[in-house]
Symmetry: C2
Subunit: 230 residues, 2 copies
Amino acid sequence: MNRASQPSALPAELPVTDRTRHRRLRAQGSLARADLEAILDAGFVCHLGVVVDGHPMVVPTVYGRDDTHLFLHGSVAGRSLAAAPKAPVCVTVTHVDGLVLARSVFEHGVNYRSAMIHGVPRTVTDPDEKLRGLRLLTEHATPGQWDYARRPSRKELAATTLLALSLAEASVKTAVGPPEDGDGPDAALGIWAGTLPLTATWGTPVADPLLPAGIEPPPHITGRGGTRQG
Amino acid sequence: MNRASQPSALPAELPVTDRTRHRRLRAQGSLARADLEAILDAGFVCHLGVVVDGHPMVVPTVYGRDDTHLFLHGSVAGRSLAAAPKAPVCVTVTHVDGLVLARSVFEHGVNYRSAMIHGVPRTVTDPDEKLRGLRLLTEHATPGQWDYARRPSRKELAATTLLALSLAEASVKTAVGPPEDGDGPDAALGIWAGTLPLTATWGTPVADPLLPAGIEPPPHITGRGGTRQG
C-alpha cells in the first residue's frame, strides 16, 4: 500500500468546517461519505480551482479516486500549481439533472448533485504511485481500458503531472424533486410546473479514421453505448 | 439601454492576456468571440471561482448573457462575494463531448468545449436592470419561460442576488477529433482507438405531483424533449 492510500479509512461522516458548512435552502447538504463517493463515481471531469497571483482560475480536468484521495490530471493546472506548491485548491464535481420549472420565476432552479473538495494537493512523484494513480484515473473514466491500452512508459510517466488530493475535507450538495410553490398562492395561476430532466448518455464508439479495417472496439467500450453517464 | 449593456459591442477577437494565453497541446485555443458565445449558449450552468480568505471556492451556478455581459445567479456565492466586493472571479463553462481512447494510455483524453471568463463582477442593484438580467438568465435556461411563468415581484427581486460580469476578458479551449497516435509506432499494436461520444439530452417533462389534472406543459417545454443540450 503506497503513500496515497492511507491504511486508516476516512470517517463515514464528512467533517463540518468553515468551508463545508451548508447554508442554502432548497439544496440539501449531506455529510455521508457514501454520497460524496457516489457523486465522484458518477463523473470523470471536475473543475479545479486554484489561486494564481490572487486571481481564481477554474479549469476542467479528469480525475480518479481511491478510498482516501482524488487523483487529478494536473497538466492544465500544473504550471499554476508548480508556481505555488502547498497552495490550497477546490475541486468541484457537478451533475446537472434537470431544470426545476416553477409557477414563478423566483422559484425556478436546477436539480443537481455536486461535491466540493478542499485541500492542498500533493504532486505525485514516485513512479509506482504515479502508475497506480494513472490506473485509477484511466479506470475511472473508462473501466477496462487499463488492461486494454498500452500502459505508460517510464518516459511518459515522467512527462505526466499527477496530483493527489485528500478526500478528508469535502461537502456534498444536492437538489432533487419538484418545485416548491405547489402549495402556495401561485398554485392557483394554472401554470404548468414540474421538472425537465437532463441526461448524459454514452453514444456509439467512433473509430479513428486511421484505424485499419478489422480492429473492432472491445466489449468494455461498446457495452457502454446507450448507457447513462452521471 | 441600461448600464450592463454597453452601446459599443466587444471586439470580435478576444484579447490575449496573461490569464487567457493558451499553452496546451491537443486542446486548441480560439480567439473568436463567436466561439465563446457558442459555448456559453450551449449551456446554462457554469462553475464560478472566487477566492475566500486566500482559498479558492468553486461553485456551480446558472447564468445568462447579453452581448457584453454574463449574468450570474449569485445566491450561492453571494455571501463570499458580499464579503469581498471588487474581488476577481473566474467563470468556467465546460461541455464534455466524449472520451478520446488512444492506443496508449498516455494519449488518452477528453473532447470538450470550454470557456473561461475573468473579471470583477458587479452586483446588480437597479431593479430594472435586475429584471432584465433575470429575464436573460431565465430565457437562457428555458427559452419561452419568461413570458409563461409569473415574473418576480418587487420583493422577490430584492431577495435575488444577481451579478454582472463583463465578457471582455475570456478564453476558449476545445478538443475535438480522434486520438493522435494513429500514425505512430503504437498503431501497429492492433488496439482499437477512437472516441466515445457523450451527449446530454432533455427528457420528457415530469409534472409536479401537486399540479392539478388538466394543466399540460406548454410547447416551449415539451418541444425540448429528446433534443440535445450542449
